[in-house]
Amino acid sequence: MITTAVEPVESPLTPESWGKLGMWIFLAADAMSFGGLLAGYGALRYGSADWPVPAGVLGIGLTAFMTFLLISSSVTMVLALAAIQRGDLRGLRTFLTLTVLGGLMFLGMQAYEWTHLIHRGLTLTSNPFGARLFGTTFFIITGFHGAHVTGGVIYLSCYLVRALLGRMTPANANGIEIAALYWHFVDLVWILVFTFVYLL
């Protein structure tokens, strides 16, 4: 006969937060990839005598607008999460659509920027404005970030398709919250890339 039920230990982790924990661990690891790239960038730049001033070579206006786009898409993403949490599926569809559109516009502008720079001679292996490694590091860092944006657009599009097919319910809020974490991380990294690669 069981006399005393074991009192469950108060855990800081609810079942919903296991997914969040997993995403956070992934993001911490991913942050180190970017950290390594940016630290390498800093070291190479420090060791170079003819590193160009980025603002002179890269277009700050366009990338400032791209920053604005990503920040805005982060806002629409939190609004999408808030919508599904209060059971507003229409709001979820609207804000998810806007977020995906923001991501796609960002990618389009990055493609435009890259094309423009390549036409001016800046490539992975050449740079008419100074140190050759400037081109290498520029394309690797912004490319790695762009790949993350692409991944995020695909990730969110999966939820968007499900939402449009009417397969999302407030029970899926946790999934949206985890996807949102990834999307905000991509925004956060861009804030750092924009500062270190374009402005500094």
Binding site: P12, L13, T14, S17, K20, L21, W24, I25, L27, A28, A29, A31, M32, G35, G36, A39, G42, A43, L44, Y46, G47, S48, A49, D50, P52, A55, G56, V57, I60, A64, T67, F68, I71, S72, S74, V75, M77, V78, L79, A82, G121, S126, P128, F129, G130, A131, R132, L133, A180, H184, F185, D187, L188, I191, L192, F194, T195, F196, L199, L200
Partner: protein, 106 residues
């Protein structure tokens, strides 16, 4: 437990991010020492990153465990920079390469 936290003012955070971005761009044209510009830019970028992490990623309202996980890469990056420092002083400023094409800047 995250329980029912009241929703932060997301639009307010958005305006902050926007204003800080505008300040960042203005800072690079300030007629002050490059080092000072650098310090200002890093400070502004870290403020923006924390705003995104605290409010958009809800770290402010989460269990401390997640905050600690989020801090790990920051700590490791600081270590990474210190690990790179000896290499930096070993590089005499000489990675300048022979110019490949005669292009005019701008």
């Amino acid at each position: 437990m995250t329980a029912a936290h009241k929703q932060p003012n997301y639009i307010g955070v958005f305006w902050w991010l926007l204003v800080l971005t505008v300040i960042e761009i203005a800072v690079i044209y300030l007629p002050i020492a490059r080092l000072l510009i650098g310090i200002l830019l890093v400070g502004l970028a870290l403020s923006k990153a924390s705003l995104v992490a605290m409010y958009f990623m809800h770290l402010k309202f989460e269990a401390r465990t997640l905050g600690l996980i989020a801090m790990t890469p920051l700590l490791l990056c600081v270590l990474l920079i210190f690990a790179l420092l000896p290499d930096l002083s070993a590089i005499p400023h000489r990675t300048t390469e022979s110019p490949q094409v005669s292009a005019t800047p701008h």
